[in-house]
């Protein structure tokens, strides 16, 4: 009996290693730096997490079908640049399109999404029809989009964004009221995205087909699933999410440049993997992805609070990726 008890505690620790680690980190930093646990910091964390979560959601579909998307970061970049160039203040001196009037914000978002979706569809087609491995296909797309973005912006930074646009990323629900709880719009947008993706992954045919393709692509094809079409949809949807993330990031920063989003794909892939999205395909949950992103952002903020120099944070992040995945894999290895 005693042995069983120990075993089940061990299994619990293993199964929830990431959550436990996270809580521990939060407690330790909270004790050492009391203002760590504050409304302002929570706000900061949630806003940072929100955008990364949206990107990770996009990548997750690719990972679940045993693919990957290395063009994510650059798509975020082009999404940000397109949005920013079309939403500058009318009286801004260095305006990208000097004669441009005030476009509706929703229309600009749609344009950014549309442009990225075209790239996503190309990704999907190259992978499905030309059978180029996703790693290579999206690696090519990454460079290609960067080039397009350079040509489009002329490598100039873009600033002077309209305040109604920046307000989307920096504003809060119930702001300027007496309410003690003010919720950042970004958080709400991320929650809506998460909810929609949860629905898509768990309650629709698309989701079931996606998991089936990841579980066994040949079997999926034999079962009558249109594998090519599903993959194109997955890469297109991912691109739409990157575009949204880019749109929000530009607004959040109040400006952008071609370098926006660089390297984000790797962070997103790492977060997904930490969150239990299996690189062997067929496995991955929205809640896990959220957890993975949270771990990452919490870690960054904690290190910041502890006064660790940014250069060192990369070293820690790299270690965490490997350790987290190794811990996660133990769940499966232990069964042998």
């Amino acid at each position: 009996m005693e042995l069983n008890k120990n075993k089940s505690i061990g299994r619990f620790l293993e199964g929830n290693a990431m959550v436990i680690l996270m809580v521990l980190v939060a407690i330790v930093v909270g004790i050492l730096r009391p203002n760590f646990i504050s409304g302002a910091n929570f706000n900061n964390l949630s806003v940072n997490t929100a955008v990364r979560f949206i990107i990770a959601l996009g990548v997750s579909g690719c990972l679940i079908t045993k693919g990957t998307d290395l063009s994510a970061g650059r798509m975020v970049g082009i999404g940000a640049c397109v949005s920013a160039t079309l939403l500058q203040k009318a009286d801004y001196t260095d305006k990208f399109f000097p004669g441009l009037g005030n476009l509706p914000i929703v229309a600009v978002l749609l344009i950014a999404v549309l442009i990225c979706v075209v790239f996503g569809i190309i990704n999907g087609c190259v992978i499905s029809f030309l059978k180029v491995p996703p790693f290579i296909a999206t690696l090519g797309m990454q460079t290609l989009i960067y080039g397009i973005c350079l040509v489009y912006t002329g490598a100039k930074p873009i600033g002077g964004l309209r305040s109604d646009y920046t307000q989307i990323a920096n504003g809060k629900l119930l702001e300027n009221t007496a309410s003690p709880i003010q919720i950042p719009y970004l958080l709400i947008i991320a929650i809506v995205c998460g909810g929609l993706m949860y629905f898509l992954y768990n309650k629709t045919r698309h989701g079931k087909h996606m998991y089936a393709i990841g579980g066994n692509e040949t079997a999926a094809e034999v079962s009558g699933i249109n594998v090519g079409f599903r993959k194109i949809l997955i890469y297109a949807l991912a691109a739409a999410l990157y575009a949204l993330a880019g749109f929000l990031l530009a607004a959040k920063s109040g400006g952008t440049s071609v370098n926006m989003g660089q390297g984000y794909e790797l962070e997103a892939i790492a977060a997904c993997t930490i969150g239990g999205v299996s690189v062997n395909g067929g496995v991955g949950r929205v809640s896990g992805i959220l957890l993975g992103v949270l771990v990452f952002e919490l870690l960054k903020i904690s290190l910041q609070f502890m006064g660790v120099e940014t250069s060192y944070t990369y070293i820690v992040q790299g270690l965490v990726i490997v350790v987290a995945v190794a811990l996660d894999l133990r769940k499966y290895l232990a069964k042998k």
Binding site: N216, A220, E221, G282
Partner: protein, 503 residues
């Protein structure tokens, strides 16, 4: 010299939720063939993996040549002279036959006394000698991937033999061999036996067991049932002891009545000139059409061609009077056709997915409500219905399919297609690698489907199964149909004659 080469005493091993081995035993004499039998899940493979050091046993003892030993890992086992040919091959298809045989222990030569490199010449020469020894003649330099599955299996056996072993474990060695190759394998086994090697032979094929083995140990539910002299045993006795009850009939009674023609195939020819060609046949409503032939007769390729997995050049497929342009599986599935593929692992099972998802995946279209959402409740109803109807043994609907036994996985795949309510059901080796009890259950399902008016095409390499289950048997050889035999008139001779027409 001890009486036994190797002895396993009271070996127990538990996995979470299941006692895989419960005081199992095995006594292996030198220079003999010892068959290990039992249903899937009886613990045969687990016992072998304990012997080979892949699993650590919870309790029990192993005596090797009279001495108590503990085998820590496969390397240790190999050093002691225990070799194993696994049921699932682990080849490196992009490398040569020789490299696959000598993997991990390549012969080396030294340059200038310091730099050690692989001695390819010696490796190829040794391989050639070795292949000759086991009566095989492949080019040692050929890429392993260019060989057929059965040839790869023989290479795997050669590899085990080359390790100069004293104990050789063969786990289902003949599952993909043709009967000629099986004969060749038996000669190899006889040679090894004469050299004093002890062979443990795991198989589900009764005739093979009775032919080749000296002693038979039977296991059930992880426990040792007994060891008998093979000469004293009959098929019935083995089955009774394996399943723990009398199996009076190997095949269920069929009450199907073949009706009108539902499928007509005309001059069907593959895009690959070496594959099926000029195939003509018809299938009736409620008929079970067996498809026989040797491995390599292109039966699987033909069925995959009809289903739209492989391309064809000419030919016509007519389903219910309607000519169909077969391009992709979706085309035929829509017309009420289902294909249970030969290789469960490669093209059937979605391992990490749940039983529920594996059942429902091909019929999700039927469960969409409000235009987009899946009706989870109805799906669960369908799945639990099927699980009950086919008596699938699973801890739950959310259990990963890969943790079920082969027979239960097969039943899950059958219910995947049943959920689609097909009229034509193509079954490719539906009972391969499945134990006797589950086999009978699958026969019953097939007979029942035919009775309901479904048309069945069943590929099988077991002649008894073809004869026992089919209304009509189509025999293929070398990509062509060589003849049809009525189920009542079929016997092993006339089927084999047709199956070897061109060889």
């Amino acid at each position: 010299m001890a009486e036994y080469r190797l002895e396993m005493r009271d070996v127990s091993k538990a996995f979470p939720g299941v006692q895989a081995l419960d005081r199992a035993q095995l006594k292996l004499r030198p220079g003999s063939v010892h068959a290990l039998m039992g249903e899937n899940g009886a613990g045969k493979s687990t016992l072998m993996k304990c012997m080979f050091g892949i699993y650590k046993m919870d309790s029990g003892e192993i005596y090797y040549e009279g001495e108590k030993v503990s085998i820590t890992d496969p390397m240790d086992a190999l050093k002691r002279g225990i070799a194993m040919v696994h049921q699932e091959l682990q080849p490196v298809p992009e490398r040569s036959v020789a490299e696959n045989i000598f993997i991990g222990r390549y012969p080396t030569k030294r340059w200038l006394g310091v730099i050690s490199t692989i001695d390819h010449e010696k490796m190829f020469k040794d391989t050639e000698a070795l292949l000759k020894e086991v009566r095989m003649s492949f080019d040692p330099k050929a890429k392993l991937g260019t060989l057929s599955v059965s040839q790869m299996q023989l290479v795997e056996i050669a590899k085990a033999v080359s390790a100069d072993c004293k104990v050789l474990i063969l786990d289902e060695p003949t599952s993909s061999l043709t009967s000629n190759e099986v004969e060749a394998l038996f000669l190899i086994i006889e040679d090894l036996k004469a050299k004093g090697v002890s062979i443990i032979y795991i198989s589900h094929k009764m005739d093979e067991i009775l032919k080749i083995s000296d002693e038979v140990t039977i296991m059930r539910d992880g426990a040792y049932i007994g060891t008998w002299d093979a000469k004293e045993l009959t098929t019935d006795m083995i089955i009774t002891r394996m399943v723990g009850r009398e199996l009076t009939n190997l095949f269920p009674k069929r009450e199907n009545e073949p009706g009108e023609v539902v499928l007509e195939v005309k001059d069907f020819t593959s895009i690959n000139p070496k594959s099926f060609r000029d195939v003509n046949f018809t299938l009736r409503k409620g008929e079970i059409l067996g498809v026989g032939g040797l491995v390599g007769a292109q039966r699987t390729e033909l069925m995959e061609g009809l289903f739209g997995i492989r391309s064809h050049t000419t030919g016509e497929v007519i389903i219910n009077g309607e000519s169909l342009d077969v391009r992709r599986p979706r085309d035929t599935i829509r017309k009420g056709t289902a294909l249970l593929t030969e290789d469960r692992r490669q093209s059937g099972v979605m391992g990490v997915l749940s039983v529920e998802d594996n059942v429902a995946i091909a019929s999700l279209n039927r469960f969409i409500k409000w235009g987009i959402m899946l009706d989870g409740k109805k799906i669960r109803e369908l799945v639990s219905d099927n699980v009950a109807k086919l008596s699938i043994k699973t801890p739950g609907l959310k259990t990963q399919i890969q943790s079920l036994s082969g027979g239960n996985q097969q039943k899950v795949l059958i219910s995947r297609w049943l959920a689609n309510n097909p009229d034509i059901f193509i079954l490719d080796e539906p009972t391969r690698g499945i134990d006797v009890g589950a086999k009978y259950e699958i026969y019953c399902i097939i007979a029942d489907l035919a009775k309901q008016g479904k048309s069945i095409v069943m590929i099988s390499s077991e002649l008894s199964e073809l004869i026992g289950m089919s209304d009509r048997i189509m025999v293929m050889c070398d990509g062509r149909v060589t003849g049809f035999v009525d189920g009542k008139d079929a016997n092993e001779e006339n089927l084999m004659t047709l199956a070897t027409q061109f060889s």
